[in-house]
Every structure is written in C-alpha cells, then in structure tokens.
C-alpha cells in the first residue's frame, strides 16, 4: 500500500541467464515438493479418515506411519502390471500419463510466496510468471479429464466406460460454473495473472472470500466436482461401478491415477487459497504487500528473505486448510446420485453463477462510478469497496442457499412423469381448496 515509503531503488530484475538458472531450480524444487506433498497427502487422508472413524490409521512404517507413502510406492512399483487382452494398449498406457501431467503442470502458475531478493535480482516465487496465468490453469486442469475418459474407453470394460462418461459429463457441467465464478475475480482484478490477483486482494485490504462470497462458494463446489472427490466421485463410484475408470488398472498405472487425484486436490486447494484467501498474503500486515516489476519499476514493499519465508508459511497454512476441508467433506458426505449432480450443475450453479456475475458486475460498476476507491481505507479502517461487495454477495449467497435448501435440487426426484403427476395432484388439490362450495342455500331461495 505505502509503495515508495521504503527504499526500493537498488532492486534489480533478473538477467536472462539468471532467469534460466532460477527457473530450472524452481521447476526442480516445485516438482519435488509437490510430489512429496502428494505422497504425504495420501498418508494424511488415511490418517484423517481413521481419526474421524475413531481408528488409528497406518502407524507401522516409520514414526506415526510416516514411511507409509514410501512403502506404498515401492509396493506399487514392484507389483505386476496387468493389461487386459481386450484393452487398447496405446491409449491404455497413455491414459495415466495424460491424467498425471496436467495435474502436476497446473502448479506452475501459482505463486507460493512473496518475491525473494537475491544478489542476482528479485526472484518471483512462481515457476512460470505467465501473463495468461489462470487461463493456462483452466486449460490444463480440464485436460485432466481426457486421461480419465481415455482410461474408461481404452479399458473396454463397461464399468470403466461408464466411469469415464460420467467424468466427462461432470467435468463439462461444472467447468461452466467454475469459469463463471472466476469471471467476478477477473473483472475485479482486471487481469488474469495470479500474482496480480494476490496484489489486488492486498490492496483491497480484504480477501475475495468475502466480497466474492458467491463465486467462492461456487468455485468450491465446482472444484469438488473437478477433482472427482466425494460427494462428486461418480467416475469412480465404488458401490456402483467397481472403481469406475481405473477398474482395469493395477500397479504403477493405478498409482499414477491416485497421484493425479491428490495433485489435483493440492492444486485446487492452492488455487482457492490464492484466488479467495489472499494467496501468500499475511492478514493484517502491510509489510508483505508487493507485486513485482512492472515495466522495470518495482511495485509494492521492499522484498526480504524473512518475508518470503513467512508468506510461504501463510500460503501453506491456507492450502492445508482447504485440503483438510476436502478430506472432512469426503469422509462425511455421501455420494450424489447422477441426476442430482446434473441438477445441481445445470439448474442451480449455472443460472445462479450467471446472475451472480451480473449483480457483482453491476455493483462494481456502481462503486466505480460513485468514485469509491478500491485500495482506500475510509476513516482509516473501513475498506468500503470490499464491504459493499460483501453485503451484496452475502445476500446473494443466502438466497442461493435458501433455494438449494428448498428440496428442489437435492431431495429425492422421481421420473419426469412422476414429477408431472405430483404437480397435477398438487394443482388439483389447490383448485379444490379454492373452490367456493355452494352447499348452503342462497338467501333468496327460501
């Protein structure tokens, strides 16, 4: 906020050579950290689910079961690979790769800490500072479903095929709500770079979770559907489809689907933290507000190593929070029925997201035309811009929840004929109740 109050003149941009070196280091670092975290997530999921069910979870390999992911990995590598005779070998082999690569690549554009000052220049703490940022992310995260559909088709197994089809349908339905909920973020920020999104939240003195509550909620629901996790795990619905699209997979190929799922969880959690919880922003501290070089001029506070470390801690905490909620939901909520998933996606999320985008856009337009400044604290502490948006969005969220709660979407639904019959019955009964019964004789009849 107070750009220019600290000395920023001796900060230099990375030279081309240093950029290459640091990029290589960051790629290696991020890849290994993501893989390790994914391995630990599998352990965490088992532990958390065990605790929720009053069990202990894996605790035999290493202290507290910490060696379990390693043991699982070794087991999966050493296991026999089975290839079904009827399967299409090329696509059967390609599918796990196609599902794991997008899951890992998407992490490239997420900034995980404040820029790090080094003697060779200031290093932005994201692998690829792409100007298209989140568009890249959307493109790649929806590529993940190709792997699943391909796995379902190439297995030539009816359950796998059904799982793949469900994954495709689900992805299409929820991608729309996902994209629409991002719209409000885009026009509030005016950019699609994720570092810009973090910077805007810092300038606004408010994380987008409140001013864009509806978008946050929709993005959250959609991300559950995108990661194929409960309550949206229809592609691998164990009780209906054996294990869905990876029924025929074993050993490391199965493991790759597994890794891809957790990598998706990690990416989506990090993305939600970035988009709606201020990314690596530490709440209530202005010292970490910085963007980076814009046309050779440093924007924001002066970077420091300890700020980078602290902001990374904040980012990790926020991501962990979302991961925990992912797990909490998975082990609490039962799976939706297929028609409920479609109803929720097309009848609630899509129209509601459209309306929410329009209302939020109108609010932003009104705020801008009344001259309310986004990054100004009125009376020293009132972020008016954010507060107005919060009021509007919370009101919308309440309405959405109220409509969802009416039993329209998630209650039992019969066939269309049955619904029609019930509606007719209700109309008939209403007409019956409104009819004036002429049982008493008229006054003049006597």
């Amino acid at each position: 906020m107070q750009a220019g109050t600290t000395t920023t003149e001796n900060l230099i941009e990375l030279s081309d050579n240093a950029f290459v070196v640091f990029s290589a280091i960051k790629v290696l670092l991020v890849f290994s950290v993501v893989m390790v975290v994914v391995a630990l997530l599998t352990l965490m999921e088992r532990k958390v689910s065990a605790w929720m069910q009053d069990r202990l979870g894996p605790n035999r390999v290493g202290p507290g079961g910490l060696g379990q992911p390693l043991a699982d990995g070794i087991k999966n590598i050493l296991k026999e690979e089975t290839n079904p005779a009827e399967a299409n070998r090329v696509f059967f082999t390609l599918a796990p790769m196609l599902s794991i690569i997008p899951a890992l690549v998407t992490f490239a554009v997420i900034p995980w800490a404040a820029p790090l000052p080094t003697p060779w220049g200031v290093v932005p703490m994201m692998v690829a500072d792409l100007p298209i940022g989140i568009l890249f992310l959307l493109a790649f995260s929806s590529l993940g479903v190709f792997g699943i559909v391909m796995a379902g088709w190439a297995s030539s197994n009816k359950y796998a095929l059904l799982g793949g089809l469900r994954a495709g349908a689900q992805m299409i339905s929820y991608e729309i709500a996902l994209g629409l909920s991002l719209m409000s973020v885009f026009f509030l920020v005016g950019n699609v770079g994720l570092d810009e999104i973090v910077w805007t939240q810092q300038r606004m003195n408010m994380w987008f979770a409140l001013p864009l509550a509806v978008s946050f909620f929709f993005f959250w629901i959609s991300s559950f559907a995108e990661t194929n996790r409960l309550p949206f795990d229809l592609p691998e619905a164990e009780s209906e489809l054996v294990t869905g699209y990876h029924t025929e997979y074993s050993a490391m190929k199965f493991s790759m689907f597994f890794i891809a799922e957790y990598a998706h969880v990690l990416t989506v959690s990090a993305l939600m933290a970035t988009l709606f919880l201020g990314g690596w922003d530490i709440p209530g501290v202005g010292r970490d507000d910085m963007l980076g070089f814009v046309d050779g001029v440093w924007v924001g506070e002066r970077p420091a190593v300890w700020i980078t470390l602290l902001t990374f801690g904040a980012f990790a905490l926020k991501t962990l929070l979302f991961i925990l909620i992912f797990m909490l939901v998975r082990w609490t909520v039962p799976r939706f029925r297929y028609d409920q998933v479609m109803d929720l996606g097309w009848k609630i999320l899509l129209p509601a997201a459209l309306v929410a985008v329009m209302v939020t856009a109108a609010t932003v337009l009104a705020l801008d035309s009344f001259g309310v400044e986004m990054d100004r604290l009125y009376y020293g502490f009132v972020p008016l811009y954010g507060l107005v948006l919060t009021v509007v969005n919370v009101a919308m969220l309440v309405i959405v929840l109220w409509v969802m709660d009416r039993g329209q979407t998630l209650a039992g639904s019969g066939s269309l004929d049955e619904k029609r019959r019930v509606a007719q019955e209700r109309a008939r009964r209403r007409a019956e109740a409104m009819r004036v019964h002429l049982t008493t004789p008229r006054a003049g009849a006597r």
């Binding site: 065990a50 605790w51 009053d54 202990l56 507290g64 909490l328 939901v329 909520v333 039993g407 209650a411």
Partner: protein, 169 residues
C-alpha cells in the same frame, strides 16, 4: 412408471441438505479432534496389546506333569469317552509297578470344540484347557498335539480351574 409412489412432505428443517451436511461435518470433525494423533481408545494394537481374556476362556490344552517330568495322566480313558468332538486319542499302557500311563495321547486341536469337558472329567487334574489362542501351523497335521507337545505348553491353564480347589468343590 411408479404410479403409487407416495412423495413424503417433510419440513425443510428435516430435509435440508445443507444443514444435514454441516451437522455431519461437525460430527466427523469432533471425532477427528478426539482421536487425532492416534489417541483413539477403540482400537487394540493387537500384537503389542492384547485383549484381556474372559475368565471363562478355554484355549489350547496343557498336560500337567510330575516333578520328574512324567505326565500326570493315568490313562483312565474318561476324556476320550466324554469328548463330544471325539478329538482325543488315548492308548493306555501299564508299567512294571502297575502304574497306568498313556502310550499315545493326542488331541486334535482342529476338531476340538474347547468345551472343557476333558478338564472337568479328569480325576487327577492332568489335562487342562489353557489361556492360549494364537495357533498357527503350516499343515493341518501339525494341529494334532501329541503328549510331548501337550506337556511342553507353558501357558497358564484356564481360570475356570482353581489350583487351590482342584476338584472344583
């Protein structure tokens, strides 16, 4: 087409998905908080922790021995007679002093139903059912315990039998 489906009309507070989900999540979270860090008291860590056996527990047999290592069994033949599963094989023998002893005494632990009648009927308190239950062998034949093996069993005999009151009076 389901012609006679009755659509229940439930109040929103009962059928609300969101409220039910939140309630469920609160429940799972509470359980997680209670047993986080492996503090769950429900699970028994089996090889290290063992469940306390019931005082009526009857497990693998034990043959009592004299101080000089001879079995206490006098080969009276009561246990094979009373055994409802017919799992005890006894061939009696007699030495020079006229003492009866078992030449062959085998119990098939697979056929045994662990009723404990052999222990009850034994006049010299020689055969007992024990407190041991972890039997694992590579072949079925190895579950036929012979006399030597029955005498080598070191686990305490069942709590049903009180050594201070051997006849159960």
């Amino acid at each position: 087409m389901a012609a006679n489906v009755v659509v229940m009309k439930r109040p929103v507070r009962k059928s609300s998905y969101i409220r039910a989900s939140l309630k469920g999540m609160a429940l799972t979270f509470r359980h997680m908080r209670q047993s986080a860090g492996d503090r769950s008291e429900v699970t028994i860590q089996y090889p290290e922790q063992k469940k306390q056996l019931s005082p009526r527990w009857r497990g693998t047999h034990v043959m009592e021995t004299h101080e000089d290592g001879r079995p206490k069994c006098v080969a009276c033949g009561l246990c094979p007679t009373i055994c409802p599963a017919n799992c005890i094989k006894l061939v009696p023998g007699e030495d020079d002093q006229g003492n009866r002893y078992p030449i062959v005494y085998e119990i098939d632990e697979f056929r045994c139903i662990f009723c404990g009648m052999c222990q009850e009927v034994c006049p010299v308190e020689a055969i007992h059912v024990g407190t041991h239950y972890e039997n694992a062998e590579y072949t079925r034949n190895e579950f036929v315990y012979d006399l030597d093996r029955l005498m080598k069993q070191r686990h305490p005999s069942t709590l049903l039998w009180d050594p201070a009151d051997p006849a159960g009076e």
